[in-house]
Amino acid sequence: MSKQKFTEQQLEDQELITKFLKDTTLFLGPDPEIMRDHSIMPRTQNEADCLEKYTDLNQIASIRDRLQSACEEGFEMVEQMGAAPGAKWGDIITGIYSASGDLTVGSASGVLIFSALVHHPIKFIIKNWIEEKTVGVREGDGFIHNDSRYGNVHNTDQSMILPVFHEGQLVCWVASTVHEGENGAIEPGGMPSMAETSFDEGLKMSPFKVVENYEIKKDLLTFLQNSVREPKLQYEDMKVKLFACMRLEQRIKEVFATDGPDALTACLRQTNESVVTEVRRRISEWPDMTVRTHVIMDSTLRENVLMKMNLTLKKKGDRLIFNFEGSSPEITNRAINTQLPGMKGMVGQAFMNHIWPDLPRGQAGLSHIEFETTPGSFVDCSYSAPNSQSLMSIFQAFTVAQHATAKMLYSCPDKYTRVLAPWHNMINTFIWGGVNQHGETLGNLCADLNGMGGGARMDRDGEHSLAPIFATMADIGEQELNEEEVPFLQLVSKKMTTNTQAPGKYRGGMGYTQIAATKDSDQWGFMTTSVGSKTPTIQGLFGGYAAGTIPLCKVADVDVYDVMLTKPEQFKHSIPEIMNEQPFDNATYSTHHLGLGFDISKRGELYMISQGSGGGYGDLLERDPAMVIQDIEESLITADWARKLYKVVFNEDTLAVDEKATQQLRDDYREQRKKQGVPYDEFVKKYVKDTPPKDIPFYGSWNGENDMVYCGNNEKRDAKNPGPIYMTNPKDVSIAELEEELAQVREQAGLEVKDKRK
């Protein structure tokens, strides 16, 4: 077939149509061309020219160090001056981007995924606003953004983006992002579990200009303040981010003065390209293989269901492909879905934090890695699905990535970090809101989400409550400082929760107990937003176990502050003591899953949770008995627990280990394993089922058949096109159950059943 030839007239017509369509676009929604591409942009002619001009790697390295230093300075500014609790504990970042929008340098501290996703809104600005006569991009402009559908984790994080010019020429971009918390959603604190549509999630800012001539536009600022519960915070942190960006701009202009803008352009491009080259080399060193893993999610935060996060990780040559087919379809009216870039960014953090932390913290580290997902799944959700609780799904993506890569890394002669078991992956903390003791309306959360237990490593235990999976260097804050602003106390905090360890030859780092009670406000409440009260959220590694599950425990109908004044001996400092001994007269004790919707609290009522443990590594029978005893001494585990699980014989008074008896007990237990274990084929025949459990709503593929996914209620759909799934409000479910029960009772009692019509 011959190629169709167009006449000059036809080409002119086509150009006219294209211009007409561009000029009459009714809505500039998220652009798939931008949103589905995480790789660095192609080298521009200007970048090629600059690379040819500047070839001295020492000069490139020197400029990169200065840019890194500028990012650290910007980070410090935001951390010191930011008003959001997130800013104070390091839930922030600053970054420098190429003229095309690629993140090249991010601050060493902070949350890399924030910066790593801001390239999407910058590319949106480049594509749509530079030429747009009603907007434009000029020196001194600043753009604000928070909508994950244009590139973000979730809309509680807000970014400020500034272009940097040299003599009228755009050279690069700078940005600063903060987990602000409050954003005007239906629940305070910025991460509403109750959101059933994207319109319940509060401010949804596509990238727009909010700064001109380095000044925040007051009219737009007022609109934003009027849309959130913390107007002062909104203003203060917009200013802080702007000034951090201006400092970055100042440092970049100092580079212009010493080395020239072309040298800076060469530095940015050379850095990104060399990282891509190095990543390809490192991947080539891994064995060619396919690793399969999954983790289970037990909740949508509204109801308990089983959802699967499924990963097939394939490595061949210098290609590494993350395939998430078989994962749960999106739940169209639940907030736990994620936009595709959020999931990719989280996998990127697994690499930049735990696999290749020595590489420059930019976008290029992930650029070469490939992803395969099913649009409409909960890791690649539709535009209309809410995603304010995307952490629930992207953290599971982090875990399967961490688990799978560990199995590829072990054999490699060159490693850049220890092989380690999965980190704890849930934000077990209190989100809070209401009117504080000073009469101010607040909505935010406790820094304890940063206290996740670290995974055990191939040669040592995991660290306790070390850092969140999204930032290796973050803080868990000083609750005493927070208490100046919030009307509740953490009555127990930073005390490890005994017997919640993930066992192994090396155990996971453990999490701590948090017991909070409102004190000085009648208008205050808490939320908790985690999964993992029925099923563990991580896996162990190479024979190590995951940690157990974590509930929310509540004690109502008590004022514990009165108890402390009148009967202080009744107050206990651990969850088991309070829940098992029930020391408070006439109080109501209850447990719940960790998806607590916003709950108004009364003075002195207890809300009790624990951070989780990282995964264990290796066979627990190989654990050094001395390390078991040390854990007893540190109250991490009890003697009973140690004896039962680790098979260690010791004197309970002196804690002296009987080495010989321990060896015998462990040998005996290995023999017991050989008796209780059955050959693989026999096991499959006995335990493996053709379908998921019938009485539990399940979402995802079954037994590796990834072309079909279950969508709850034993319904199977085409995995490529699962369609929307809407869940009934749990309160409506309860009401329907109660109505049915009531009708039955009335019928049994011989009472008239009111109006049977459907």
Partner: protein, 133 residues
């Protein structure tokens, strides 16, 4: 030559077999699922993660719900070492977690020296007792 694949598994490139690193037991063909040569046990989650609050009083107790999650343990049939643990959906088949391209592995290690112990990567721990400033 043998390649150390996990804490307890290695592949003998000459015989193309999975082997136990603890007792040298030959588990099975490296081109197949090593789990097929192991013993498997369906562990009650309560054995490993016992309730720390009273299960007769409370619904959620820090102990996983065994109707919602199973723990599959995989043992070497010769020495009883626990080589792998899998938290999974009740009734789900065990995962074929490590599917090797043995030919590629052979080619890759033809240019490397055999390692008898795994490398661990750089040590980033701070020596708290040094004064090297």
């Amino acid at each position: 030559m043998k390649v150390l694949m996990t804490e307890y598994l290695r592949i003998d490139l000459d015989t193309e077999n999975w082997e136990c690193r603890v007792c040298d037991h030959v588990i099975g063909e490296a081109r197949d699922n090593y789990k097929k040569g192991l013993l498997v046990y369906n562990r009650d989650p309560a054995d490993i993660h016992p309730s720390i609050i009273d299960p007769t009083k409370y619904k959620f107790t820090f102990c996983p719900d065994k109707d919602w999650v199973n723990i599959y343990e995989f043992y070497c049939p010769c020495c009883g070492t626990q080589m792998e643990v899998e938290y999974t959906l009740p009734g789900h088949e065990p995962l074929y977690d490590m599917e090797m391209d043995v030919d590629a592995l052979k080619a890759q290690w033809s240019e490397r020296d055999e390692l008898l112990e795994p490398t661990t990567g750089p040590n980033v721990m701070v020596d708290r007792h040094s004064h090297n400033h």
